[in-house]
Symmetry: D2
Subunit: 457 residues, 4 copies
């Protein structure tokens, strides 16, 4: 049963049917579709288009259809081209004639727009919860190792010492922005398109504000042609997902590096590593490599949708059926990736000795320049002097602290014997106590702020 | 003068210099860079690192540098590898030694992060203002032609009659979401990274909250490693820009269609059309085609940045210098496109006769089904009957209203002689009076709501 | 059974297993995997690493495994993390100890590289065959309607008359380039990586040239580290697929336009159209809209892979497991789309009257200018004069041929009474008889050339 | 002077002019544009449309225009909306009336298609030459350090020892495929569209094959509507460029890693490194980071064009003007990046001691398994035994060679005292002597093959 057969005389080509039908992937919208129909039945009742009994029959029938989907007993027929058709067909079988009234003034155009919005609202909540899980794992791990110092890198070159907890927390804030973006996206998603008809609006004086309220949405869409055309909320979710992927990929890159033989700053649980079919000694951080790779997939999903939408005429065009597969793929990817990420973070074991061994006094060259600054020298001059001292130590292949005071004074007589107090990694870290800095007290405050965020939503 | 020469003995390769230096494009950040330095000088004063006189000298010197940029008299030297170096070099020439103190505790890593944020805040405001301009043009044009009926399409097939004003307003709401997204992006951009140093935080007890407040920002970034690594705000702007591009492309597609010989529903001003070098009769809607094409460019800019960021190690990596050219390109593209779009909308002349001629009574088939529904028939059955009547009319090649009452009654005896009242396009439009519908009163309310939005920000 | 368990003590996390395992999608490589193993067994025999009997047992066992996959009776176990593991596990069950020798000197790194190449070679052949099918449908259709004249458009504005067959054939050549690109991609795919080991090469003196020859490949990869890292051939296929998508989308756009109510130049079979659940009169070209939308998906698949590969360290990284899903998705998309496209082309019915009605004499303005050129006037001057005459006719709202000779002569006294012979659409078409032009004889030659191409591969 | 003014009465809006005009970027096509016009003048002469004198005047005038562009003395006027207009305008000033004949039967649609093809052919040759430069630098460097052994990694975990030369050569073959792809692209670019007119073909019996031959192209495009619509060759170049970017990014990633403090296997010349404005000790591999980032830009350029083309109607649409900026950007990016890459490769200094120090005997675990295999044990069993021995050594924190023979025999009595000969990195490397393997002799053969490729084109 195609919903639109009346005017047609021929049959749909079989290859066309496979090409066209969306039930294979949009069936997962069933709960949203049924929820929307329950609300629409109430709206039809309010508008006097169906009776109380009809509404009751419809709602009960829809409940049964939902149960069948929930139980996996729903039996699709070849004509079930999409979720709307499948539900309406089955409802008709169950309740008969009232089912035929449910589509009054409604089009699949406003119906699918609603279904995807309802589904996405729930899905955003699930993704946000998983993000929170990763964030909690980060904060927990950071707290456990609160005083541990490690080398900090820029350009992957040794830069300055930082706290392990500070490094780890840097990912927390990336994910916090992601949750923030998802919340914005959720707000723009929770606008009700139902009652827009195919494009021109509902002709039966449906109360769209009441409908929106019934569905837990804040308002009704303000223009019916835009309502059936708008897929911004999907694009916005896909963008948020792509950024989550990028953030994940950056953490993953660090973990891959820091577990590699050149660094060995960390290890991750065996449960998140795998071996080699050829090389018996291997322990590969596959989980993190895959997480890094997933960023590509998520970016691809975003590009798919943006390209589909580009240059489409107004209102609904069938191209837009291509919105759902990237959406589902991105959601599924996040649902798979984020728990693994939380698991990996939870099993991270930092190796203090390797970190300490990698701390090189040249990373204190800025502190050496700052020493001069504190004694009144302009920074730019101090930077040059410190640079020359680094070169001097390098040429002799000794650490900075192995130079003699005379070596320092050869470059500037501002240096006094207290210059050697500079060469302490913990002090260097402790000096960076501004908001957001790596000093233990600043990181403790940062962790407090993070916990407050987690408990605020 | 390279800022970092102290430790180096050799020279930079010339090809490397061209490859590496960013002054060619980041010079447009000069105002933001100088504004940031003025604020930083105040912060250094508060922290006791410079004197009041030094601060005054710095601020005055920076004022002069800014003036030189404003006037176009700034003379770059070969060593000016980026905007920070250029400004500091010139400031040193002007004020001497205090200039050397300005970089105290500051890194180009936190400096560039600040500069781009400051620049972007201003740029978002400019783009939003241009969007408002397009929206105003839309509302104005919609109001002038408030009663005009045109064919509405889905799948580019005749669907239902709609108001021209309703069609036009559908773009208003797309752009309204764009403004909303830009506002969210602006909020996340207005967080101050200055005081994060290269990666570990500022060691001189700078008051970062005061610094943020001085720069009109709401808060300071909470983690210094994230602060120098974060380019989310740029990605978010590029995404918002890409969606603006998509919305523009959809309006453009409609205008190209509606000015094409098959439709001729609209014409746009000659000022926004061009001719052919070969075919004397041509009048091409180049402005709208280009606007449609720009969506591709904006999507490309977004992909560029996302791909650059994917898989980068934490903190700053030089790859991130590649953030600015897509950002500037997207901004410039919008600054060029949106005024033209506003101009085009302002010159749109709808052709009522062509619209009326294209209104086909088959577009009232849904109204015909609704006629039956209002008389108690379930919609699904009514839809089939209406479909059969459409086929009947099509086979005889006559409009629906040319069928006899008997033809209608042959399909259903619910039909009475009043069925012919259905075949009125204005009535069809008027029936869709729900919120967001195409009825004149609903569109009037929609326009009021739009005006209220425009005046609310 | 994980292939790599020896060194591991713990268990893999369940979420990790779902995240990591690829058998769910790479099982479709089974035939390629088994074919590669059969060849490898021969190579091991040649190198003296297994006996003739062992080889025979392996080959027979592999044959049985393949049969199980073919029949759908293969029963996966939880440990079957990928297709290689699954096949090796099952082979071990069947033939016992010789199975354990099959992986000698082989790694899953070179094995998967081979499998995907073998699979892709077959898949390219399938896609090429489908392209040929579309091309044949185009040529057939073009031949049937060889003399039909329609309006040609640029910028979607009326430009010059062209043959319907010429318009249709323009897509033929796009697809011909696609076939050409696929052939290039196939050539670069048919290089054998087996014998590269994990990264360093096979230590058992395998004859890699013989192995390549056994597998129908032209040569062996020249560097083992590159061999396991290279996914260029997949990217190249995805690019070729994206361009096929773009070509398809352009044809689809034209068909959507030309079947729309403003044009009605064509209709396509009902088997490739669908109706509306709300509007009984609708007949939507869904097949073509979907085909247009698929271009977005194909571009997204390409971007996914490119982004995954960007910035990866050399050799194999697990991120590369993300190469297969976009590849399979692109292939499946083409396998679904192209037959529908061929079907649609086959059912195109051109409507000669609508085409003729849309031919506007202003489309002959270039011919009018050419008239002057043939009488010695420089084209640029002739173009201006012709433009002024078009404006004159437009102002009077008459066709060009309704102007009086005096009107023409008022612009140039080169005009003689034979000017009215210009206003004939068939003559205009016939004049464009150069190679690639729209004249019937040129199109006939074009069709001959096309047929020759089709039969040459 | 707009070329198309005849029919227009109004003026172009100034914002529109900036939006629309392309002379700002397409002026770099001047040499191609002029070369095409010189050939077209010859074609007009052959067709009897101009005299020998007119042709001579045109050619001489075009020579002068080219000279002005070459010298930088060409003075654009506001009306020069694109390169074609600019050249024709200036030619008219120089030679008068014959200039007006040059556009006979020609459209800017076929003209721009030609110009870009001619430009791209030259540009491909330039890029290929630069690739050759990088490849030569690779081969030279590989030869100098032909015996040096370093750790090879997969998943960034220690895998097996390889030759430094082998690692470096792995990039050679990536770039070789790039050159191959560029050659294919060049072949598809070298097809002449001139003579296609605006869309319908040239009406003046131009000999298009002769025209193609004059321009050094192999054939003429077979369909005029496709000829003005086709931008595949640009997309193909952009794809080839994106893959070059990816290859470059992978080499860059390795260099960034191997120069990082965890590895220090390499250093690159100071000329390709930069320092830090804050941290005096830093030496950052900026050149390689930027090269890695450029991959994002190149992928973005590709996506821009693909998205622009998606869904366009047939023939020329103004959107296609957006093809040139991504093309030029990609070309410029390669022209900047590749010489730097060649420079960096030339200055790579491998640090043999650091490499040797990083060679860990666990990397010989596969060789240990192979030892068993050579004594008749199935590989799968040998792999497990070797894995257990690795774990045993790891638990005692000793290298494999420090285990006692009894330890080996505890796992398998196949082990004899000669097992200790396995623990030699050079032997391990030498065993992988198959084609493409890392053994010195295989690498020498590989280098010979590479040299042969370089000299063959």
């Amino acid at each position: 049963m195609r919903l639109w057969g009346g005017r047609f005389s021929g049959e749909t080509d079989d290859r066309m049917r496979r090409f066209h039908d969306s039930f294979g992937f949009d069936r997962r919208l069933y709960a949203a579709d049924i929820r929307g129909s329950v609300a629409y039945a109430a709206a039809l009742l309010r508008a006097g288009l169906i009776t109380d009994d009809e509404r009751a029959a419809i709602v009960e029938g829809l409940g049964q259809v939902k149960q069948e989907f929930d139980d996996g007993t729903f039996e699709p027929l070849p004509g079930d081209e999409d979720i709307h058709t499948a539900v309406e067909r089955r409802l008709t079988e169950i309740v008969g004639s009232p089912a035929g009234k449910l589509h009054t003034g409604r089009s699949r155009n406003d119906q699918i727009a609603l279904d995807v919005r309802l589904w996405l609202i729930m899905s955003i909540d699930q993704v946000s919860a998983l993000l929170t899980g990763v964030q909690s794992a980060i904060v927990d791990k950071a707290e456990v190792h609160s005083g541990l110092v490690m080398p900090g890198y820029t350009h992957l070159q040794a830069a300055q010492p930082v706290l392990f907890a500070h490094w780890l927390m840097s990912t927390f804030w990336m994910l916090e922005r992601d949750r923030d973006r998802l919340a914005d996206c959720r707000r723009r998603t929770a606008v009700c398109p139902l009652g827009s008809g195919a494009l021109a609006g509902n002709p039966f004086a449906i109360d769209r504000e009441a409908l929106a309220a019934d569905l837990g949405m804040e308002s009704a869409t303000p223009n019916s042609m835009d309502a059936v055309a708008d897929r911004d909320f999907i694009a916005e979710f896909l963008f948020a997902a792509a950024l989550i992927g990028i953030h994940t990929s950056r953490l993953a890159e660090d973990v891959v590096l820091y577990t590699s033989p050149g660094y060995r700053f960390l290890s991750i649980g065996e449960a998140y590593s795998t071996g080699s079919s050829l090389m018996p000694q291997k322990r590969n951080p596959d989980s993190m490599e895959l997480a890094r790779g997933k960023a590509g997939r998520l970016i691809g999903d975003l590009v798919s949708l943006l390209t589909v939408l580009k240059g489409l005429p107004s209102t609904y065009n069938k191209d837009m059926q291509e919105d759902k597969e990237p959406l589902f793929d991105a959601f599924d990817t996040l649902m798979l990736t984020l728990p693994v990420l939380a698991g990996v973070v939870g099993t991270i074991t930092p190796h203090a000795e390797a970190m300490r061994a990698a701390l090189d006094e040249a990373m204190l060259a800025t502190d050496l320049a700052d020493y001069l600054v504190r004694r009144g020298m302009p920074f730019r001059e101090a930077h040059h002097i410190s640079g020359r001292i680094v070169r001097r130590a390098e040429e002799r292949d000794v650490p900075l602290s192995a130079l003699a005071l005379d070596d320092f004074r050869a470059e500037s007589d501002v240096f006094e014997s207290d210059v050697f107090t500079v060469f302490d990694f913990d002090s260097s870290v402790a000096r960076r106590a501004v908001t957001g800095g790596t000093a233990p007290e600043a990181v403790a405050a940062q962790i407090d702020a993070a916990r407050a965020r987690l408990s605020s939503r």
